[in-house]
Symmetry: C4
Subunit: 222 residues, 4 copies
Amino acid sequence: MPNADALRPEDAAEQLTAVGRRFHARGWVLGTSGNFSVVTSRDPLRLSITASSVDKGALEPSNIIDIDDTCGVHGGYGNPSAETLLHLEIVRRRGAGAVLHTHSVWGTLLSDSHGLDGGLTIEGYEMLKGLDGVRTHEHREWVPIVANDQDMTRLARVVGITLDRDRAAHAILLQRHGLYTWGATLADAVRHIEILEFLFETMGRTATYRSRGGQYGTAQDS
Amino acid sequence: MPNADALRPEDAAEQLTAVGRRFHARGWVLGTSGNFSVVTSRDPLRLSITASSVDKGALEPSNIIDIDDTCGVHGGYGNPSAETLLHLEIVRRRGAGAVLHTHSVWGTLLSDSHGLDGGLTIEGYEMLKGLDGVRTHEHREWVPIVANDQDMTRLARVVGITLDRDRAAHAILLQRHGLYTWGATLADAVRHIEILEFLFETMGRTATYRSRGGQYGTAQDS
Amino acid sequence: MPNADALRPEDAAEQLTAVGRRFHARGWVLGTSGNFSVVTSRDPLRLSITASSVDKGALEPSNIIDIDDTCGVHGGYGNPSAETLLHLEIVRRRGAGAVLHTHSVWGTLLSDSHGLDGGLTIEGYEMLKGLDGVRTHEHREWVPIVANDQDMTRLARVVGITLDRDRAAHAILLQRHGLYTWGATLADAVRHIEILEFLFETMGRTATYRSRGGQYGTAQDS
Amino acid sequence: MPNADALRPEDAAEQLTAVGRRFHARGWVLGTSGNFSVVTSRDPLRLSITASSVDKGALEPSNIIDIDDTCGVHGGYGNPSAETLLHLEIVRRRGAGAVLHTHSVWGTLLSDSHGLDGGLTIEGYEMLKGLDGVRTHEHREWVPIVANDQDMTRLARVVGITLDRDRAAHAILLQRHGLYTWGATLADAVRHIEILEFLFETMGRTATYRSRGGQYGTAQDS
């Protein structure tokens, strides 16, 4: 991942700030929800990550913390996000160069409505082709849903197990909490967020729409 | 609340203007709805509050009025918001440093649909952790709904009684009118608005979504 | 209406341009839909009105036409809006200083769903107080719905008859077409648009929400 | 189409960049979805088209590729859009000066729900008058829906056959993929996108709204 490795912390801070303002404008990181990270060095591992409890609509480069793989802080103001362990887990197990977490209305709704199923299947949409390595709309994407937990060590372990079990997954939903996705570069991760948030809204609206009686069918309806 | 006490009226005016434009962009204070205040002095109590009948999308610092606890005007143009008494009631009973009132579609819808219940319960959402003092998504938040009233003295009294009765509440809904929330600082109150508006939209869309037959369940469904 | 009478055509053009960009950002005047006018002189009557077929998201002062009460053009480029006769009818019968027409999704939906009723009743909402002369949320607003017609002379006559019949109305909906409202000043008309579009969306979402079975009631439900 | 023919590639790049940012702000081209082209020369045919896999929210003039009718690249960085063959097909068979493809939630939803019908009928809406050559809201617009396909040569052939069969159509939907429309100029094509996206949202919301039991009727209901 040369482009991720080449990144200087000050450039990472600028880029994450722009991402935060962009997602806040869409309503995907309201309150102080959401957190974002990008790898600036592989060996030793160094991560630039948003500080805890900051308003993403007013994000400043100084709100980006430079940390190592033990959560040691090497730069920036404030504490690293409470969910830093999840970012590190994803970076380690997926070799991701960037990890993004959004907290949208539709992601929250689907993580809730499909909670008992343990996940969500998305298939047949052209938009799926924007996910890394997907070549056709006939792709079947499984988005695992993990129960929410305030014990971050335990939650990180469950996320790790889920990443190892569902090796093809491009994302994870935390129930009634939100979306985690990643990419080789920050641009890839941003693309994954936009694609998955689009698909969550489309699926949510389609399910509501179908409630009118389902006289509309599609080739893929069983 | 040092950060609230330290605030100069001219800085308060700048900050409230930015909040107004931000919420107007989201469609939460259309028409001339909504009003915002921040405490600039505790003793004697001084409040900077939006003037009555101003367009929040074109809010200017001159639209912010500097008043005392008898509604006496000490600066700014126009009259203080017609709902100033509600702001003073909240400041007194909660020791709030800022009070914000939005008037969104989803807040209006839920304040209407849950009107007979006298309030609304929100629980199980990670977003609740953004509310002051809440540490887990398992928190159960009760948002009391008060009948709307044009007699501001009477409405302020009912709001006061409600604040004393529901001591854990972070907000109040006025039926078919909108949301009141507050915080130690303006930033805390802004965060509360974004969190509650997010949760109202999520609950409203979930209830509509479930109408498809409820074959989707969640761990917390009874 | 001194503030309307005092307006110079060049100032009117600037103000209408800002209104157009603001409403386009909300999605209320997509395509080249919508048209806006403001009275610059009462006697003789002179109106500044948007040109026909212009993109409201890229509106320029040169797109604003200065016309008289016979639709004679005195300034600006292009032709006055095809719906100029409706603006003149409203200015004459209501003494309006500004007339605004938006074309939103929710306005179109309600003008369709309530078409056979000949109109729409809105009551019990605090937001109604933003309508000129309304003092309480208990106000009952009747918004007449007029069948759409490509014969502008005939449509203007029907609109005129409707204005005379429903003297208390603050607005008219054209079926599957959109909203017309007005005010003593441009600011009043903008406020009326934002209030009515808010109420249309709230009513539309509430009706869809209720489809879940209506176990939610409100004090005002019959 | 003089205004299309007169266009210089550098001006085309500027204009397509502005269109991309405008549609991205609406959420119509999230991820790297959507692609846009404009004819800069008729004979020989030269087309300015967005590069493949670019973020439309950060589109730069350098992302616009200057190609000929054999997809030969004459300027710009990156590869022309994977869907270039569809653009060329539309330009040839409709003599279009610009072709735009968006990928919205409502377009995707309707292309899915009406997939088995082979298309979608839109009628009775004033907004239809913004489509080239349409003079009345009583117009009946048929939007054909073509099954999605990753074989672009085959898909282009099907699109071509559809364009020849449905000669009056102003647009085509690709199932679970999105909207293609065009115009004599880029401004005409932008207007068509805004109109059709508006109508898709209106029809989608109306169908959901009617699910409440249909006690609301309209003159055109059967």
